[in-house]
Symmetry: C2
Subunit: 371 residues, 2 copies
């Protein structure tokens, strides 16, 4: 390509600043019906074709790269638009975390384990906090008090808002690895357990420790609106039962019923637990991708609890699993400027080599097909 | 599979009797927005998964089969849902008939050639009929008279309704091969050219000859409503310029402009000439499918003018082009009970063998992946 290599970054529709749905109309399926992964992929298709045409680079190969949900999108884009993307690097993409593909609570167990290793006391405090949050919420003016204790951005309407927030905070902390968890647990452990709200004060200290200093409030429902809709309409990650212990709230037996109720009251939609695997597949991944597919790298850090939802074994000669021994979530695509570690350099060099090979093969095929 | 093989036939949404849009509301994009090929494929995905579950045959391989537009759907389904369909037989699927993939008017030239071979006089009559239809329509009470001459099902609103009908009738006749064309041309040639409407009477005689006796009227707009919408919203098959002569109306230089006007007035939508190749690909087919794809048969009859929009060469060891020497449109999947020809038997046996091979390979892979 004469113009040299170029890198483009696309923002998913309804995320970021250019958002067709304002907070007010972020409610009904009428305004949100166009917010889903398939429509986002179609956007990328249009955008990438446009960029190629604009740069006179119609024949140039495109490699799509993403991490976490973005990693799933990169993989799905290669699946659905192989004529546009020559290959995909899907970093920390828990594509097996859907429907009934993965039957165990491996991810939440792994997260719990990280907290337990940091401090057993901390693990126990978190484990017992869920029922105390519910108890506090059910007291007289409980939600108001709870909102004050946790300095929420707006008054809580239900204890589940706080619990969901905490749950995803613990998940994110565990993704970033031991240091954040350590920091949280130190704060949780060091805060004295005094009075009725003892446990809650400890938990809040953990929240503060996890986040940067310039946060003015916590639990901001509007920032997670888009993903909340997607969880209700397509990307349902069921909580699992399983034998291993976790520090998270026990999965209620009527989980789907509760979820359905919540989604119906929020958006008047009913969750579709099987849609994602119907549209993108997921069952028998190895068998399916081996015969239909090529040029994909699934990379996972072996310290990242979400690796349990990822692909950790090579599938074919062009579908690779790259595991990163001491790696966390998405570390290969967002390298910390600070930790210029040897292993990370090796991994990204390996990934680069694989991608180079795809491009070389493409050039060879292109020449022979135009002969 | 214990239950033995089973065959299921699905009807495309909005076609057939179970139709969410009645003729009255077959107008705006509000009722028709769910009518498109991608939604139809998603229906098939849901239905096929449901059938497998119901029959306790989750692991059984599925082969999708279709002809013409159905052949495109079969191919697209294998592309987009390889985790559901193990393979596809796409018969007479003109998947290269879109956007600018095929730059020449090969298909209309081939159709014209079939008519010319049947009778040069007939070819010339058709060729000059287009302007005579327009002239007749523009006379005083012209559309009423034209409607009477052609026994239309409802009064024509524009001469283009009749011209589009005739165009697709000639296309269909040429698909079914020489006998129908011969019959039409004999009627056209034998009808005397008398009076002002001489050519029109001849053309109408051709229409009658092409269709069965029990047709009470001709040009029925309601029967083609669904496809008309799809033509406006996604499946745009542009008419081509090209050096070869055709008997069809000359392509107007402002073709897209006219089409846009018509689609906007009918449905308030603007045609998207590039969408289909953006979503399903089509450019550099061989190069793309060679590296990403497997288990597809493209079959084409070499007497079918639509073969020019099809894949006529093998692409890989599992993506085959089957050409049928004396075959017409879709003849391998809809064999005439009468013509129990040797070559047709050979072709379908070959196709069967290829599909058997896919299934055997799948069984082997499945066993080794569960070891």
């Amino acid at each position: 390509m004469d113009a040299g290599n170029s890198i483009h970054s696309n923002i998913h529709r309804y995320y970021g600043e250019s958002n067709p749905a304002t907070q007010e109309n972020f409610k009904g399926s009428k305004n949100l019906g166009y917010l889903n992964s398939a429509q986002a992929l179609a956007d990328y298709a249009e955008i990438l074709i446009h960029i190629k045409e604009k740069n006179n680079a119609v024949e140039s190969p495109i490699i799509v790269i993403g991490g976490s949900y973005g990693g799933m999108l990169a993989y799905w884009f290669r699946l659905k638009y192989p004529h546009i993307a020559l290959g995909a690097l899907a970093s920390s993409a828990p594509i097996l975390y859907f429907d009934d593909i993965m039957r165990q609570n491996k991810i939440t167990s792994a997260i719990s384990q990280i907290f337990k290793e940091a401090s057993n006391k901390c693990y126990e405090t978190i484990k017992q906090s869920w029922s105390e949050i519910d108890a506090a919420a059910s007291r007289d003016r409980g939600l108001t008090k709870l909102s004050n204790t946790f300095k929420t951005c707006s008054e809580l309407r239900h204890s589940s808002e706080l619990k969901n927030y905490l749950e995803s905070l613990y998940m994110k902390a565990a993704q970033s690895g031991q240091p954040v968890v350590q920091r949280m647990c130190e704060s949780i452990d060091e805060t004295p357990n005094q009075g009725e709200d003892g446990t809650l004060n400890k938990i809040f200290a953990g929240v503060v420790a996890a986040l940067s200093d310039d946060t003015k409030c916590y639990v901001n429902p509007s920032s997670s609106l888009a993903f909340k809709w997607q969880r209700c309409s397509e990307i349902l990650m069921p909580k699992r039962h399983g034998r291993s212990e976790t520090m998270f709230e026990a999965v209620p037996p009527n989980q789907m019923e509760l979820m359905t109720k919540e989604c119906q009251s929020l958006y008047s939609v009913t969750p579709r637990p099987h849609w994602l695997t119907t549209y993108y597949g997921g069952h028998n991944m190895k068998l399916i991708l081996k015969s239909f597919g090529s040029n994909i790298i699934f990379s996972n850090g072996l310290k990242d609890p979400f690796r349990h939802g990822g692909v950790l074994e090579d599938i074919s000669t062009t579908i690779h699993a790259v595991t990163i021994k001491d790696g966390g979530h998405c570390e290969d695509i967002f390298p910390n400027a600070g930790t210029d570690s040897q292993w990370l350099a090796t991994v990204t060099r390996d990934e680069y080599k694989i991608i180079q090979k795809w491009i070389t093969q493409y050039d060879t095929d292109r020449k022979s097909s135009s002969d």
